[in-house]
Symmetry: C2
Subunit: 354 residues, 2 copies
């Protein structure tokens, strides 16, 4: 392959609130000669095809001042480094025995057209050739069949300990994770209630995903809506947003309710987090609030998840809405838009055709 250009998105500066394209995230066009790059044993080169953009990436754009660090996705991206994210690429050169030219590889790629995967990172990649002939869009493999998918699955079933007949409340209910949580909840026989920041999203979860009730939290008071839609209280709260909403849910939780803390997207772009005041409910109602990161659960649940979701997709029991933009240079706008709720469905960037 001749010399070309590798368009990349570079992290330039720590934002205090919402990131701004040009200031915090910059699109750079770097010369790239894949044939002349030296590949040590274990290294390989990807031509990237799809990139997932996700809320947690905002958290990696911070300076971590916590005295006891979390060893997780919250590790910061270095200033002037290429942004990273989950994606799938086509192997175009390889010195790694697991990956051959022509293979699809899935893992943490750069926000860029080409990623050189060094041997020390190669282990975290996996072959994804099954995506070639599945009849499903490649983007599904970073969505319903990928990270957001397993997050919804284990978050609801394992961390939330969901049971038939229980009442489930989901925030970001039409999002990459949320839309699947609600549909799995319905499949498991739960009463499902969701909130989203847009009337079209509310219609989507009611009409397409089968939710029992839903509301637009921007035009309706959350506590009032929960009193109406969860009159007996909430058994499982799938927490995607944090802050004030969590505070309200604590008051609407039933005894022994579980709060599966998947995300707190309403807090990621704030200079200071909002206070949560109603935590005494944790005691008197014996609540369990539990945080989780999907990757901890792949060894135990990964195979079962793939099997179940693939079956549900094939049988038409679940739907999956995506919001696809084309071109890596559009990743910053897609990402920043998503943090502001402009995405409708799973936000993905299609970088190239194979």
């Amino acid at each position: 392959m001749p010399s070309t250009i590798n368009t990349q998105v570079i992290f330039r500066k720590v934002p205090t609130t919402y990131p701004v394209k040009g200031e915090h995230l910059e699109v750079a066009r770097m010369p790239f000669s894949p044939d002349t790059i030296e590949l040590a044993p274990g290294d390989f080169i990807l031509k990237n095809l799809v990139l997932s953009v996700d809320p947690y990436m905002r958290v990696r754009m911070r300076i971590d001042t916590n005295p006891v660090k979390a060893k997780s996705v919250s590790d910061p991206v270095p200033i002037n480094g290429v942004m990273t994210g989950g994606g799938i690429g086509l192997v175009i050169r390889s010195n790694n025995e697991r990956f051959s030219v022509g293979d699809y590889a899935e893992g943490m790629i750069g926000w860029e057209e080409y990623t050189v995967v060094r041997s020390n990172k190669a282990d975290s990649f996996q072959l994804r050739n099954d995506a070639k002939n599945s009849g499903l869009p490649l983007t599904y493999y970073v969505g319903v069949l990928g990270m957001p998918g397993i997050t919804a699955y284990i978050g609801l079933l394992k961390i939330g300990d969901a049971k038939p007949g229980e009442t489930l409340f989901i925030t970001s209910a039409a999002g990459a994770v949320g839309q699947l949580v609600g549909q799995i909840g319905k499949l498991k026989g739960m009463r499902v209630v969701g909130s989203a920041g847009d009337d079209a999203k509310v219609r989507f979860v009611l009409e397409e995903c089968g939710y029992d009730a839903a509301f637009n939290y921007k035009t309706r008071d959350t506590s009032e809506a929960l009193t109406e839609m969860c009159p007996g209280g909430i058994d499982v709260y799938f927490e995607n947003v944090g802050g004030k909403t969590l505070d309200i849910v604590l008051e609407h939780a039933k005894n022994f309710a579980r709060i599966a803390v998947c995300g707190m997207v309403s807090q990621y772009n704030r200079e200071k987090p909002e206070g949560v005041y109603n935590l005494e409910n944790v005691l008197w109602k014996r609540l369990r609030i539990q945080g989780f990161i999907f990757s901890d659960h792949i060894p135990e649940y990964g195979a079962q998840f793939q099997k179940d979701v693939m079956t549900w997709l094939k049988e038409g029991k679940i739907k999956y809405k995506e919001d696809v933009v084309v071109g890596i240079e559009n990743a910053p706008d897609a990402f920043i838009g998503m943090l502001k709720g402009k995405n409708f469905g799973k936000q993905v960037v299609k970088i190239a055709d194979p």
Copy 2:
């Protein structure tokens, strides 16, 4: 038994901050003729011997505005009703086949010298004749062998999922519950760190209870002390106080730490609770915050708890400090003092000799 006086403590008014004797809690002296009271089948009369005063009683002096009520100890005491609490009495008349004159009965008694137990409440009482000849103070049965005891036991071992080698942090570390949590932690091979609001309490947990480190949170910055005393972070936090302390602990928690929410005493006397800001740690560190009420766990753990703690007491492996006041008329001062940290050890009221 001839006519006599039943000294009682009456709940008169909902306090906004700390209760005041005379205003919110009033001592009343009522004529009482045990022999002429009509006893329906199942009723019995107790001459009360010991009463436990506990922080949760402050929570029952509130108006509960929660849209979904907790069915637990947070049920309010009615205005002009007699305050209630765990205690032990001597049966002086009985129309109940489980309880005979001369028996010791344990259950929710009034803050009063004599309690008429009606049949609808009788089931929640249990015989406590084993206390007569155990060689242990009767007060122990509402302390180390009673409610605070099982709270410490299941809170640490079940809810906290404590493991040898882990670091345990306890607030109210010298209190009725706290002093036992730390000692059980040491017996289970943990590194134990505590905080209390008084230098004498700090010396007590270090010198008598075997804690590895402890500090006075009124004279030392909690975050600084935790950095020094839990340099690798906290695995289990036994939460007795809530508010700002919880916020600090969230930053000092390790990945996968457990927070057993036993109480939030720093919040009980506030008009508005303090905000907690660092909840994003729950996500990135995959924390589990779980509230519990001891009574839910008696069916499963009651017998094992009694056996273990009795053994540890007899073998001299644990100590138990009590703060005993004499006379029911002193219950309000003992209770209000305890809410302000004046108690040194388990606060109990000795009402009468058998």
